[in-house]
């Protein structure tokens, strides 16, 4: 099956003064219709830059996509004009962001913003667009949608705003929704509600979801497949269950071990020692080497992202020792 979105060798650089940083460095990703791909990794690993690059929303300057291909519905997005790109943004690919408090324009009503989101893509009368907006507000669980249309963002709670953002992103029923940490800024009960809502809408519209998060609990609950990012590269990719059962990259193992879980029977959480290096100072060779407990001489050379096990398992790892890494009892046990 042809993927809906196919990213190859995506490379995005930021330049400030004489310093250049490859925040995203040769990323490959495939997303199929209707599936949920989770993109995980610590802060600064390049998740947001990857997703903004897909919609070509990287602020230029200082950023620039310097290489790669982004095929979506048979077209290379990187070769489209700005005008053609605008017909895809919000129509075929939509996006929701982490900060619901600032993502809505404070001087326009919710109704004005929803109606604009519709009418920029579809020739529809204002009254018709308003009805559609009200329908979507109801769908995302907002009571009294008619009143909400006339409200301004500052009159809404964080959870309500994120619901409005979801309605705005989904109102044109895009083929792909990119959600960059959609629940991080919300408190726990609201988080669960928003995730439920996204699952429900996905089922309804068969929209594919690229879900960016650093919460593996969210991943376990939502994702079909997972891509793990570290220092601008994909380091491991696998179907969700497989990734939790048999993580093959030391970084993935570190992430799982450092993650709190409800069914926790481990004695304590072990954070990964050290931090993600900044994009202008990636180490040569394996980028995880300075923090890796399994490091050997071989790791001075950059490992390739290569299949692990049978190719049809869809498991790929960027580590010289992927095959020889011992099976992890803690990781295997934790996904019971």
């Amino acid at each position: 099956m042809e993927p809906l979105l196919s990213v190859r060798n995506l490379t995005t650089m930021f330049t400030s003064g004489r310093r250049a940083a490859r925040a995203v460095d040769g990323v490959d990703l495939d997303i199929f219709s209707g599936e949920t791909l989770a993109l995980v990794g610590e802060s600064g690993s390049g998740k947001s830059v990857t997703s903004l690059s897909i919609l070509r929303l990287i602020p230029d300057p200082p950023g620039k996509i310097v290489a790669g291909e982004i095929r979506f519905e048979g077209r290379d997005l990187l070769s489209l004009s700005e005008r053609e790109m605008n017909r895809i943004r919000g129509r075929r690919i939509a996006m929701i962001f982490q900060e619901p408090m600032t993502a809505l324009n404070p001087v326009f009503t919710i109704g004005e913003q929803l109606v604009e989101a519709v009418r920029v893509h579809r020739s529809m009368r204002r009254s018709e667009a308003e009805r559609l907006a009200a329908t979507w507000l109801e769908r995302v669980g907002i009571g009294r949608p008619e009143a909400m249309l006339r409200a301004y963002p500052h009159q809404l709670s964080g959870g309500q705003r994120q619901r409005v953002m979801i309605a705005m992103a989904m109102i044109n029923e895009p083929a792909l929704l990119i959600a960059d940490e959609p629940t991080t800024a919300l408190d726990v009960t609201i988080q669960a509600q928003i995730l439920d809502l996204m699952r429900e809408l996905k089922r309804r519209t068969n929209t594919a979801l690229l879900l960016i998060t650093h919460d593996l609990g969210v991943v376990a609950e939502m994702a079909d497949r997972v891509a793990v990012m570290y220092a601008g590269q994909i380091v491991e990719e696998a179907p969700a269950e497989r990734l939790f059962d048999d993580p093959r990259h030391p970084y993935t193992r570190g992430l799982i071990r450092s993650m709190p879980r409800l069914d926790d029977d481990r004695p304590r959480l072990e954070p990964i020692p050290g931090t993600v290096p900044p994009a202008h100072a990636f180490p040569p060779g394996c980028r995880f080497a300075p923090r890796c407990p399994f490091r050997t001489e071989a790791c001075a050379a950059m490992p390739a992202l290569r299949p692990f096990g049978r190719p049809e398992d869809g498991h790929r790892v960027r580590c010289h020792l992927a095959e020889t890494l011992p099976v992890e009892p803690a990781a295997a046990a934790s996904n019971g």
């Binding site: 919609l55 929303l57 300057p61 700005e82 005008r83 790109m85 605008n86 017909r87 895809i88 943004r89 919000g90 129509r91 939509a94 996006m95 962001f97 900060e99 600032t102 993502a103 809505l104 324009n105 404070p106 001087v107 326009f108 009503t109 604009e116 989101a117 920029v120 893509h121 301004y152 500052h154 953002m165 705005m168 992103a169």
Partner: protein, 333 residues
């Protein structure tokens, strides 16, 4: 309602304050209008009679009370120079000033704001640098200097535009409807008068507008740059809204909130600036009238002018407050 009452109180307070200060200052200026009217060689009797006529023989506080009393009846006194009621004089000169100030205001607004938006949208490019250069020169070069330069070039060298008056002397002005020649001649369908009066507006209009235009450009650019960094602009882009619309609708409405303050101040500055501009371009408005009044120590005329300008200024500020509420849903009067 409560707002309206407090605003009215404020207006009364301003009128009292402004008239009081102007009154004191104009009486502290050395010089004696009675002497000027009577001439150097008038007899003491004639001089005393003129002083009494003008009310100058009474104590200052009595003169001030008299002035306030007249004010309550809509009487601003009689001009010493023209011997006409000040109110009639001002009414006569007001439309010319209004036309000039309005023209300059529209120029500053409708050229200044788009330039500010373009500069912000093209931040750190050549276009931005040029627009900023224009803004800096507008702020730092004195009005009379570029007024004279404009006259020198467009009237003196190129002979493209007239440099004085409101309309060509060979063309009769349009009948008074609004008092603004450009509008009245249009209403009348008088094409020649329209062209001539518009041409006469260009140089003084630009001269008067330039400094305020520069300030509006500067403020709009700064506000736009700040707004364009906000998350909601990224949201708008992610929805496929075209850049033009993002700049001129989504971002500008936010950027106009801080810019409105500058625009409000600009109107006041234009009224004040009209005095210099009208003098340079022999524009028959209130500014020219008051300059002549000052030369003549014409207290009632000076008071009347100051009063009208300050009341106008206060009312405009109310208007600005009201515009804020239209732009920013979080502000209520």
């Amino acid at each position: 309602m409560k707002v309206l009452v407090s605003r009215l109180f404020f207006l009364v307070f301003v009128v009292l304050g402004v008239t009081f200060v102007t009154f004191i200052i104009s009486h502290l200026i050395p010089g004696d209008p009675a002497q000027m009217i009577a001439g150097q060689r008038a007899s003491p009797e004639v001089y005393a009679k003129i002083r009494a006529q003008l009310g100058l023989d009474r104590p200052i506080w009595a003169q001030y009370l008299l002035f306030l009393q007249g004010l309550l009846q809509g009487d601003l006194g009689t001009s010493i120079r023209t011997q006409q009621p000040v109110l009639d004089d001002l009414r006569h000169y007001f439309p010319a000033t209004l036309e000039l100030v309005l023209f300059a205001f529209l120029l500053a607004l409708f050229v200044g704001i788009p330039l500010g938006v373009y500069a912000a949208a093209r931040k750190d490019t050549v276009i931005d640098a040029l627009i900023r250069l224009l803004a800096v020169s507008g702020i730092s070069i004195p009005v009379f200097w570029y007024g004279l330069v404009l006259i020198l070039i467009f009237y003196g060298k190129l002979d493209l535009l007239p440099s004085g008056g409101r309309i060509d002397p060979s063309i009769s002005p349009p009948a008074t409807i609004t008092g603004l020649y450009v509008i009245d001649s249009l209403l009348e369908g008088n094409w020649a008068a329209f062209k001539s009066s518009l041409a006469h507006l260009v140089l003084p209009g630009i001269t008067l507008a330039f400094a305020q235009l520069a300030l509006i450009v500067k403020q709009t650019r700064a506000a736009m740059i700040e707004v364009l960094r906000q998350d909601y602009i990224r949201t708008a882009r992610s929805l496929g809204i075209p850049s033009r619309k993002i700049y001129f609708r989504y971002a500008l409405k936010n950027a106009l909130i801080p810019t409105t303050t500058v625009v409000g101040l600009a109107i006041g500055a234009l009224l004040a600036g009209a005095v210099v501009t009208e003098t340079i371009f022999s524009w028959p408005g209130m500014g020219k009238y008051v300059v002549e009044a000052i030369g003549y120590l014409d207290f009632p005329a000076i008071m009347g002018f100051t009063l009208i300008v300050s009341v106008g200024y206060v009312i405009l500020n109310f208007l600005v407050d009201w515009i804020y509420t239209l732009l920013d849903p979080q502000i209520r009067l």
